[in-house]
Amino acid sequence: MTEILNYLGMLFVFIGALFFLFGSIGLIRMPDLYNRMQASTKTTTLGVLSFLFGLGLMDLQWMIKLLVIALFIVLTAPVGASALARAAYKHGIKLWENSVVDKYRGGKKND
């Protein structure tokens, strides 16, 4: 039983690490700040959740504390990203030139 849980934990940890890698690639490849933010926030949040859950499966007694950390990150990472995106918008960082619509500034295409 512990063997199976151990291998399952390894699988989750590996998936989490892969999602971190995808987030970093997105950080490099996406065209503008807001798209980059989407890529990195989503993938690293699920990455942390999967990574810590996998570590918890390896030793079940650690599970509660690891889940507390994961839950904290899942609750706060989107809040931080939202605050940062809004601050960047108000700071004057433009959307990507091929963006189709910007309702936040009254429906006009950004100029």
Partner: protein, 86 residues
């Protein structure tokens, strides 16, 4: 507890950290750097938890927890600064 497995995980995380650090250095704006920093702190939290598991010290998990809390406060502070709040 397979040592080679941990080598694999740590090398993937190192690659992710290197790519994020590239964005952190290159910019171009300060908000881009803040986003890269946010991603880096998430990866670092996971890495701290991994170190706790490898060295089998439960108390090290508290370091990861406090680091996550401080990182969140840091991101909010940067956001407030960019918005002109402080």
């Amino acid at each position: 507890m397979n040592l080679y497995f941990f080598y694999l995980i740590i090398s993937i995380l190192a690659l992710a950290i290197a790519l994020s650090a590239y964005r952190l250095i290159k910019g171009p704006s300060s908000a881009d750097r803040a986003v890269a920093l946010d991603a880096l702190t998430n990866i670092t939290t996971a890495l701290l938890a991994l170190i706790a598991v490898i060295s089998a010290r439960f108390i090290y998990l508290d370091v990861a927890l406090v680091y996550a809390i401080l990182a969140f406060i840091g991101v909010i502070a940067i956001a407030r600064y960019l918005e002109g709040g402080i």
